[in-house]
């Protein structure tokens, strides 16, 4: 299992991702944003950071990087792609995921661990039981997920809502989302389930040295899936 971690100018979480997946016993390699070769990777990660300084909108410029045309092809071929934080914003800008990420309500950059409820979804990056509560840090200024009412209904009907901000007991309240996200949505996937975008940083809670292990399940789930497909 080999993860390809894309580096855009201004990415700053790529080393965290590489450390996390190597900690779990998988291989990892970097992909420069100007490269267009994703062969040899079993999954692609768009890491967090501030690609292109977040100019115009978060992810708006990165979306046109040469590598992104290849990421779109990779995703359309049904292969696993995850966008974490800025990576989620890039996936939304690239229309690989619906909706957009607005500035946090309250205009504060928020950096803190949050509780998330795993929803029943088609996402290939998750094999935790629905209703499970995990604790993963967020670290963003623009994580306020929004989409139109019709899209929201579609996301819910298709099992594309993957993670919701919640209370310690797993209940989701409007105020559970520290950033004001619509329906407390923290992560969504595409209809097929292979493309996953989330604002929290699972790679930061893989090595127990960093204070938690709740992020391990996501990388393990996709590795298991890839192994099954390879048969």
């Amino acid at each position: 299992m080999r993860f390809g971690v894309v580096i855009f100018p201004g990415s700053n979480c790529e080393q965290d991702v590489v450390h996390a997946v190597r900690y779990l016993g998988y291989e990892a390699g970097y992909v420069w944003h100007g490269d267009t070769d994703l062969s040899g990777f079993d999954a692609v990660v768009l890491p967090g950071g501030f690609s292109y300084g977040d100019y115009i909108r978060c992810g708006a410029v990165a979306r046109f990087s040469p590598v992104m045309a290849e990421v779109v092809r990779y995703a359309e071929a049904g292969r696993p792609v995850i966008g974490i934080c800025n990576g989620f914003q890039i996936l939304a800008e690239a229309h690989l995921l619906p909706g957009a990420l607005l500035r946090n309500v309250g205009l504060k950059f928020i950096c803190e661990p949050v509780r998330l409820r795993v929803e029943k979804s088609v996402c290939e990056w998750v094999d935790l039981p629905a209703g499970e509560v995990v604790t993963i840090p967020i670290n963003h200024n623009e994580g306020n997920f929004i989409c139109d009412a019709e899209t929201l209904e579609r996301l819910k009907a298709n099992g594309q809502v993957v993670l919701r901000y919640c209370e310690p007991d797993g209940k989701v309240r409007p105020e559970s989302a520290p950033n004001g996200a619509l329906d407390s949505i923290a992560g969504i996937c595409n209809e097929r389930g292979n493309v996953f975008g989330l604002m929290p940083h699972p790679e930061r809670v893989v090595d127990p040295l960093s204070g938690g292990v709740d992020g391990q399940a996501f990388f393990r789930a996709v590795a298991k899936r890839v192994a099954e497909v390879a048969g």
Partner: protein, 79 residues
Amino acid sequence: MARYEVFVTYKKGIFDPPGATAERALANLGYTEVEGVSIGKYIRLDVADGTSEERVAEMCGKLLANPVIEDFRIVAKEA
């Protein structure tokens, strides 16, 4: 050279956190007559003579604005 001005604002119904914050702050300062604040972006484009407004609209739809959340208004200016 021709010049276009582009104003990018949130679509109706999309919550505008900076606008809402400015609205509250103005009310706190006693400007209770304020009934709404919308904060957006101003972009000035200097382009070659003959560049059409349609071409500028294309730039807006592709990069300068996100049609999922934003509207844009293009104003042609005398350079």
